[in-house]
Every structure is written in C-alpha cells, then in structure tokens.
Amino acid sequence: MTRDEIKDLILEIIKDIDEDADFDTLQSDLPLRDQLDLDSMDFLDIVMELRKRHKLQIPEADYPQLASLTSCVNYLEPLLKNI
C-alpha cells in the first residue's frame, strides 16, 4: 500500500467507527483522539479492524505509534508494503 492508501484505510476505519466523524479540519500531525473525540475504546477498534482486515497483530506497546494520522502511516507503511 502507498502512504495515501494507508491514510485512506485509516480514515475509512474511523468513518466506520463513527459515521459522523468530521475530517474537514483534521490535521495529520495532531492526535486523532483529541480532534475526533475518540476515546481509548474507539482506539481499540482501529487496532481490531486492522487485525480483521489485514491480519496485522499490533502489540499494545505500539499503540502510541497510532496517535496521529502521520504516525499511523509511518508505523503501518512497512507492515503493509506487500499488500
């Protein structure tokens, strides 16, 4: 997957969690949680969806790396490079 595709994947997953999520003002380098009113339970859904869709096992210690859209892409890029 390209960086753009990964970004779209994350946004699609978030849209699936909260269909009212507003991406218009979303800044890629700021934490997703604060901008989208997501809590830790919603956050777990992102991890679970990645596991369900792409069989990715993300250890709990790595969750902080999914904080912002940019950090998500950075973290997932090597893991999804062959997909």
């Binding site: 269909e19 339970m41 919603d42 777990l44 859904d45 679970m48 369900k52």
Partner: protein, 462 residues
Amino acid sequence: MHTPLLIIGGGLSGLAAAIRFARFNPDVLILEKHSRVGGLNSWYYRHNSLFETGLHAITNFAPPEDKNAPLNRLFRQLKLRRKDFSFHEQLTSEICFTNQEALRFSNDFDLLLHEITSKFPGSANQFIKLVETIKEHDPFQTTPFRSARTYLDNTLNDPLLVDMLLCPLMYYGSSVENDMDFNQFVIMFRAIFLEGMFRPHGSIKDFLDRLLNHYQNFGGKIRLQAQVARIIHQGNKVQGVELQDGEIIECDALVSTIGLEETLACLDTPPLRQTQGKRLGFVESIFRLPSECRKDLPTDKTIIFYNNSEQLQYQRPQTLVDLTSGVICFPANFQGLAPQPYFEVRTTHLADYSSWKSLAGDKIAYLTAKSNTASQSKTTVEKIIGNFTQHVVYEDTFTPLTIERFTAKKEGAIYGCPDKIKDGNIGYDNLFLAGTDQGFLGIVGAMLSGVSMVNQHILSRL
C-alpha cells in the same frame, strides 16, 4: 463442540459482551438458562399482553452529539446506530421525604440545582463544589471501598440532603446497605442526575430483540434453556463447561455474567474469598389501570423515590418487606409516548429474602404474604400519589424468590453481592466476570461492563 468464546448469561451484559466480540469474530456462543434473554430486564405475557420486568427507566441519557457520553460510547462499541433507535426522555422525577422535603429533578440538571439552592440554601455552595468534584473524578480506577455517605456528610453538612441524594442512587444501584462506594456514587450521580433517564420506544422486548438480531447478524450464536452445571478447568485454566444435560462445550475463553458466588459454585475449587455483607432483596409490584384513571394520578412525574421515616433505611429488613421507603414508577409518563388503553403504576421496596424463603414450603402462606404485600404497597403509595386501588384491573408481585427463580440471582439480590470485582479477574487465566458483580449497574452500566471486560481481557488475546 468448541468455540473460542463462551458467555454464560444472556442478560444485557452478556449480550453486549457477545455483540462486542462477534463484531470481530462470529465464533461466540451465549448460554442462557432461561427461555428468553434479558436477565433482570425481561418480559412475560399474561392475558395476551406483555409485562416488563425490571425496567423502570434506563439511566445515562445523552443527546447523540455528546460523543463521549457513556450511552454513545456504548452504541459505537456495539456498532449500533443511535439514529436507528428512538428514545423517550423522562418528564420530572422526585425524591419525596414525607413531612420533610421534596426535590424534583429531570434530564435538565438545572432543575435539581435550583431545587437544592432554594430548599437547602445552607448547602448550596458545597453542593456546587461536589458536582465539580463528581465531574472531574475518575470513578473507573480500582480502589478499595470508600464510603460515599461519609464523604457527603463531611462535604454537605446536612444529613437530610445526604439521604435525599443517596436515595435514588442507592435504589438504582447499591448492593451495600445504607451506603455506596464513592466511585459507584460518582457513576450513579452522573448516570441519574447529570445525564438522566429515558426508555426505549416500544417494550423492553423490542429493545432486546434488536440487540439479539444485531448479534445474530454478526454471526453470533445463542442457546436458550441451556444451564451450565459446571465449569471444567484444570487449575487456573478453563477448558469449557458441562451443561445440565451432560453436553460438554469447550472454549478458549469464558465470560461469566451470572454473579461471583454463582460462578464460583460452578467451579471445583473453593471460593477465593468469602464475600462480606448482606445481599439486598426487593419486592416489585405492577398495577395495571385503565387509561380513564390517569387524570387521578400524577401525569407529570416519571419516578418518585419516597421515604416516610425520619431517616432513610436502605437495608435488609427483618420482616418480609419494608414499606417505609421505595420507588414508584409510571412507565407511561415519558415524553412522546402515544396513549394506550391501560397504564401502570410500579412499586419497589426492600425485602428480606430469608423471611420469604421460610414461607416457600407453604404455598397458601406464601401467596397470602404476596397479596398482603401488594395491598400494603398500594395503601402506602396512595398516600403519595392518590387513590387507585379500586381501579386495578391486573396486578402482579415479584418477591426475592420470584426474582431468584427467573434471573438466577442468588437470594433475588438484583444488585448482586456487596463487594465487586472491578477488573473482572477472579483468579483464572481465561475466565472473567462481567455484569452485576463486576460492578457497573443499570442497563447502560451492565452493557458497558460486558464491552469493557471483552475489550480488556478477550480481544487483546485474539
């Protein structure tokens, strides 16, 4: 057979736990002892009409846009759309201490604030500070029991106000006599006073049917009338369960929602610890009345929490029932409900399980006690809401024995054992507790309990 996740109990916590898991993996099975789901909040038919059990109101009301509210978090976690449900908010409820004081409250917190400011002016500032503390406190940390009553006595400095505030919160979610844990107090204060009460459109059956449908659409399975005889385990590792009929179902993980002692009774090992304190039993009565009588009774009140004695006694009585305090609910008095040919008055009082149990062998004595209790309940609440006895077309009363029989809650204690297992961990590698004895109470609380136990203990191991 073998299933990755097995859930004992098809009440609201079990259903929520199952839906949460099924969202990511359909291989989950619920085992429910009864012939229908819902647990404490279920229904039955008499004379071709449906009667709800348990449900007075659902707490934790929140508008859809308040994303962080427990109700909306729950809906997101279960992948349910708020838009697909219609809710009816309460009108006004009241805490009524006869010959002492009355406080009205609604889903608009300003009403309670105004009532307290005008009726307890000496405690108004302290109350405002208390509300700030409640808003900022994190009630989900696992800390030892801390008395809410002691805290309130020290902060508010008015024993009557303390009793009045605790009355609805204890009646809707305290398994402890005359008190509650401070964290539980914060959760219940937010759920009832800051958020508010509502009921779903239709009956509890419609609500449960939708949850069950949603679960089955994800591929989840359920078996009714499936009673677990024992949990099979080797040391701390659970391997599965054996049903009453001898069938063995193997699993990788087990979530039990049937209560702490009820779960330990299915295990070969002795209880990890003895639970402290008495279980609180209740009697509930339903009185059905023709709609013509509505005008004679309050039409603007949803729930009345009353107390007729000098000091509120939220404790196990020594007699069958304690009528000096209780809850009166008008299920027809929610916003936007269409008029029906009949309406109900429901009452709840504290009861003593052992007094009822001692009558169990003598059917006539038991039925007489039940009917006397219903009559006394009517006479007691008539002094608060007006006369209605002569118009009752149908009535039914549930004793702690009825509740025990249909919900399998030990001693009919709807709020379970006094001490809670907040992290759901009872000393096994792959068996976790959710629901009543995990400690989140009420319908939204029970469902969040199921969801959070699956999140914490099960999903992370998938």
